[in-house]
Amino acid sequence: MYPSNYRYTKEHEWVRVEGGVATIGITDYAQHELGSVVYVELPRPGVQLKAGQSFGTVESVKAVNDIYAPVSGEVSEVNSALADTPETINKDPHGKAWLIKLKLADSSELAKLMDAPAYEAYVVDHQKGTSA
């Protein structure tokens, strides 16, 4: 379910790093909790982001959700296809529905994020907490 080469945040974003570029999206758990995604707002290329900074929103019928940068860096690319097909986030959250790419500023930040087994355990815990 959760790719082993990704890292994850407590706020349910994922990040994949290849050659100094960090690709960022939201997790399957997040899209499921949101329900049908109807609107996505993303930054422009060139914007500098710090880890933990809100950089956009993903909206479902019922809610507006801020998305936070898992790591710091400059936005190099934005998935503009999501403007017309936001539902891709529900269909392929770990693949086609990536949100932005960053030029990774500090690779040591990755160590602070969860790996796939840790995130899976976190989600199970989270579900217990909300349904208790």
Binding site: V38, Y39, K62, V64, N65, Y68
Partner: protein, 384 residues
């Protein structure tokens, strides 16, 4: 993304850190067993969605939806002056009701603003049954009881004695017909009868909060799970889906209906909320009458209007309405994607001079301004 804090951002739907025990309807464990997402709705632990808001919304428009609305409050007034009491605390004219008829009305402050909105059902001379908002039940009961000292009428806070299910949509009648011999097909809109549904004594009203044909059924809580399960089982082949409060909110918004805490509250009047049709100044004295009469004569400055987004961003509850030069001229009371109409819509208080259909307005959405257009209410009217 902070999934744990997501929810409708309305006054009634904010998830609070809960130190107090949430109230539960008789269906609480059934909702959880069926996998509903639960939220704190005005102190009640309620399902916000089952299969998804869009799915549930569409089922209600095209087939039928079943809603647990047992959190709604019931207040009963009995006695020789029950009508006089209803007339004194509400703005509509309850003397026009015949036995078995209901009306939409407002519980008024002495300033002519809303304590609550409600349905008044006339059971018989000397017996009226009120359905009020869940989060206002205690307030309404205390308010009516303190007004009742002048009248020969008893006020009962009867919420604990009733569950309420709403079955709504074009197939609601057909499904409910399987469960009763009572002449529900002949019931007119805003009329009700006492009868048996699935062997359970119930008050069955042809009312609703979705813009569709349908029924609201009031009965003793013991029977709730049986009736819920039986309706879902028989209705399944007709497309009946269990629905949460999320779809209830988008359905009522498309239908242009007000929600207490958003469109109406203790700062708004019937004239401002486009609800002049429920205010009968000529019926005799009632709480708020003088203030409402005065405002009718002096005129209002702001009015509730519907709008449709023209730019892509979605207006949400509380976002500002802006004039051309960025100055705030009003605010959005409810804003959401409209699943059936497939537009982003909302209601907002705007200056009277900016309220005519076709008027261009701007909505402040985070750091940007988005274009919208005033449109007539309701957004959606069911085909008849």
């Amino acid at each position: 993304m902070l999934v744990s804090t997501t929810c409708l951002k309305s006054g009634l739907l904010v998830i609070e850190a809960t130190t107090t025990q949430l109230r539960k309807t008789a269906l609480n464990s059934a909702h959880r067993r069926m996998g509903a997402k639960m939220v704190n709705f005005g102190g009640w632990d309620m399902p916000i969605e089952y299969s998804g808001i869009v799915n549930e919304h569409m089922a209600t428009r095209t087939a039928a939806g079943l809603f647990d609305v047992s959190h709604m409050g019931e207040i009963e007034l009995r006695g020789p002056q029950a009508l006089d009491l209803v007339q004194f605390v509400t703005c509509n004219d309850a003397s026009r009701l015949t036995d078995g008829q209901a009306q939409y009305s407002g519980l008024m402050t002495s300033a002519g603003t809303f304590v609550d909105d409600l349905l008044v059902h006339k059971i018989s001379d000397g017996h009226y049954f009120l359905c009020v908002n869940a989060s206002n039940q205690e307030k309404d009961f205390n308010y009516i009881r303190s007004a009742a000292v002048r009248f020969s009428a008893k006020v009962e806070n009867a919420g604990e004695r009733y569950s309420q299910l709403a079955i709504q949509g074009p197939r609601a009648l057909g499904i409910l017909t399987h469960f009763t011999h009572a002449p529900i097909a002949a019931l007119q809109y805003y009329h009700f009868l006492g009868g048996e549904i699935d062997g359970v004594r119930a008050l069955v009203a042809r009312t609703g909060y979705t813009g569709e044909d349908g029924f609201e059924i009031y009965f003793a809580p013991d029977h709730t799970e049986k009736l819920w399960n039986d309706l879902l089982e028989v209705g399944r082949s007709e497309g009946l889906l269990p629905c949460g409060l999320g779809a209830r909110n988008t359905l009522r918004l498309e239908a242009g209906m007000c929600l207490y805490g958003q469109e109406i509250d203790a700062t708004t009047t019937v004239w401002e909320a486009n609800l002049g049709w429920i205010c009968k100044l000529g019926k005799g004295d009632f709480l708020g009458r003088n203030a409402l009469q005065a405002q009718k004569e002096s005129g209002i400055h702001r009015i509730l209007a519907g709008f449709e987004m023209q730019d892509r961003p979605i207006a949400r509850d509380g976002y500002p309405v802006l004039a051309g030069h960025g100055q705030k001229i009003g605010s959005v009371t409810s804003g959401s994607p409209a699943p059936f109409l497939k537009k982003n819509i909302g209601m907002a208080y705007v200056p009277v001079e900016s309220s005519a259909p076709g008027t261009q307005i701007r909505i402040g959405i985070r750091s940007q301004e988005a274009a919208a257009k005033i449109v007539p209410l309701p957004f959606y009217k069911r085909p008849r």
